[in-house]
């Protein structure tokens, strides 16, 4: 499962930065499809044993060993205050790299790498009932499908997150 996706990524990797534009890795979370910009994605791995770290916010599941590197793992469902879900063989960890931090994102299922040109991206809704709208960078449309495009930076580093980490660290 994850291997096939990595192959997919490799193909894209060969191409240069420019062609990464407008490309999104899409994944499935609860009932919706999400996308993150491909340039942040390092690799996709299957779910593996996560070592819990005490005093962390709920959504930081712990750390994993990525070929000798220790990286933290965040459950995106919990990050969005959705209900947690048992991990299964479709659960994937998407490893993203931003600002020199590598972080694993646990998602229900990785779908594909999709091309969403700018003109098909709508700005995010102003307000939303769930707390998650801040991390939304836009709404992408492919034919009739809708992908919620996430702002990786906000997802990992927004103030709320830092406060939570700081509070947990105390």
């Amino acid at each position: 499962m994850a291997d096939a996706k990595n192959q997919l990524l490799e193909e894209i990797d060969i191409e240069n930065e420019d062609t990464q534009k407008d490309k999104y890795l899409t994944f499935h979370l609860a009932e919706e499809d999400y996308g993150i910009e491909i340039r942040y994605v390092m690799e996709i791995i299957g779910i593996q044993k996560i070592t819990e770290v005490p005093d962390m916010p709920m959504f930081v599941k712990g750390v994993i060993n990525l070929r000798g590197k220790v990286i933290p793992v965040m459950d995106v469902r919990l990050r969005f205050n959705m209900e947690g879900r048992e991990y299964d063989d479709r659960t994937c960890i998407v490893v993203v790299r931003i600002n020199d931090h590598e972080v694993g994102l646990v998602v229900d299922e990785v779908s594909e790498v999709a091309d969403i040109p700018e003109k098909h991206v709508e700005p995010p809704p102003r307000a939303s009932r769930a707390g998650g709208s801040d991390y939304i960078q836009g709404i992408g449309k492919i034919n009739e499908e809708v992908k919620i495009l996430l702002n990786v930076n906000k997802l990992l580093f927004d103030e709320e997150m830092e406060q939570m980490l700081a509070a947990a660290g105390q």
Binding site: T51, E52, P54, G62, V63, N65, V70, P72, H101, E102
Partner: protein, 783 residues
Amino acid sequence: MSANISDDQLEIIQEFVTESRDMIDQLEPTIIELSQDCSNPDIETINSIFRLFHSMKGSAGFLEFDNIAHVTHAAENLLDLVRSGDIELIPDHVQLLIATCDFSKDALDKVDEEYVDTGIKDDADTLANQLTQAIAVAKGEAPAEAATEETPTEVAVEEEVAETPAKKETAETPAVDAAPEMMISGDMVERFVQEAEELLQKAEDDLLAWEKEPENEEVIHNLFRNIHSFKGNCGFFGYSELEKLSHQLENVLDQVKSGKPINSDKPADDLLPVVDALKDGVARLAAGDAPEVPELPELVDVLLHLIEASEPPQLLGEYLVEEGVKSEAIDKALETQRKPVGELLVDMGEATPEKVEKALEKQAKTQPQPAQKPAAGAPAAKPKAPARQDIRVDLTKLDSLINLIGELVIAENMLIHNPDLRGLELENFTKAGQHMSKLVRELQEMAMTIRMIPVAGLFRRMIRLVHDISNKAGKKVDLQLVGEETEIDKTVIETISDPLVHLLRNALDHGLETPDERVAAGKPEKGVLKLSARHEEGEVWVTVEEDGRGLPREKILEKAIKNGLIEGDGSELSDREVHHLIFAPGFSTAASITDISGRGVGMDVVKRNLEKIKGKIDIRSKEGQGTRFDLRIPLTLAIIDGMMVRVGASTCIVPTLSICEAFRPEEDNITITPDGTELVKVREEFYPIVRLHEVLDKEPESREVIDGILIVLEHSDRRAALFVDEILGQQQTVIKGLSNFIGNVTGISGCTILGDGEVSLILDVGSLVEMSEGQENNENLSA
């Protein structure tokens, strides 16, 4: 040069910065020594400082760092006058020299970053003016002096540099007097030996080539240059016999170079034995002996004989010709890029034999003793074959090598403890595995030693600090450095640098009394501040010790009570516990806040910095007798011995060094205080129990203490018992940081990767022990 800096130039510049920094670091202490007693300066000391500025000026001029060249030139002028006895050295001069050192350091930092030294012109001009003024003042009216026989060269140089600053080279030869006062480290000797061997080997090759092609000028020039560099090095290190011989050889070559005949048909045959003798001398040095040349008198006679019949030394006109020759040589040397800048520049400063003669005469008068001292001060010059070679390596490369070795240790663990092998009898595999483990262990140890550097550099930096502070605080202090050759991991050295500064400041500001107080207390006027390093108990101990007033128990208690750090009047606390109170955040005993120390942020920062590198700090103090701080630092940072423990389904690593003992507790030994704190009695002591499952928030096998194991942990003399389900065994643990993203986690210092690829947390014993005490305190407060 400024527009486009080629790689070659970049390399030269970097070399220049590194060399100059090294030299300043070495000489700064010497200058500071001078400031303490400059009434009767040691001629060698002045010479070594002169050489510092001289060679910096030369290099800076060559590289067109005009500001640096300007200032160092002024400093050099001042020193030259002092050296020749024309003016007296006064404390103001020394202060100016110290200021020059500071300026140079700043300038070098700038050069290091930006490859230009512009933008510091104002500072440079001010300082240079001060220096020039100092010279003018000291000389009274200069022109009268300049008319004497010895000064014309200097005046010429001065004008020359003034006209085309920094382009031309100076006409002075680095002074050839021997045995500078400063310590010469083993490293330096090794470098000297290595370089000397190269130079002599080249010289020998050149001599042989010369024999074949007597007309080839280039060969002679090369030969001369190599011998000249060698001589310069010998002079710098104070190996007077080698220097003398090479100097004579240089004289002969100089004569050949300038086209005059020498009294020999086969000069190569006459000169080769000289080179051999020099080589022998270097080999002796490499073997740890004094670099003597037993055949010195005979060889010098031979050499003198070679030039005997020739004319007296050159005239001024010839000197100017040589100026021309020299710049060609520089260009050529630059093209070929073979030598370090320092060496090039020694070559460039070569052209005045008169000066050499003069210096030699002076040396003969003032400097007859042999060069025993540097040899004795170089314990690290191992009697190994002199084949060893150094290369400079980028630290990041080294770090990635060490990381890789860390990975290798993990991979080895994964392989040997592979779950697939469980229960199999694999005799050959086990053997091969053991062999590999051994190699990996050796590799790891080797890699660790690569990162180790002697603390000498760090210690020497403190000389300056102590000098400044003691002046400011009006204290008299004798700073003693012991064990400078002790090697510590480079990162550790960087980490303990700030704590050391804090400790020294405190020692000088609060610890040592003023001279009057000391005399009143019946102590010698001068306080002793000892900074030492040594290996002990698998750790490195760095000790700061002074014989001052000691820590005042009453004052500390008073303050601690005032700040709410302790309960009651503290009379039940031991002296040790009282002393440790000064590490509490926000604690300061200085009655008045001085500008040196006493803002109450020092000691807890010291402690925290040390804990970052898993170090500990210890105080011993007696009122009226002094205080001693021991910094105890683990030898390596990257890999530790760890004890793997289990709680429920998860495993953790406890650093073995912190473990005192482990045992299965008995019901009778457990006491629960009314406020709920669990204590375990071990022999006559009671330790608070820390439940690991609570720290990790896990479900243990059993919550009953008697079902599990208690591990007694020690941290800065305080103990706690850690309750775990089971001890799984010991293993080498490669420490990895938890991701920055996660930040600091209480109770966890890092993590490691186990044989099965799983990540395991490493417990932070310090915070666990504190946690246990925190519990107590909180409960005390609420009770």
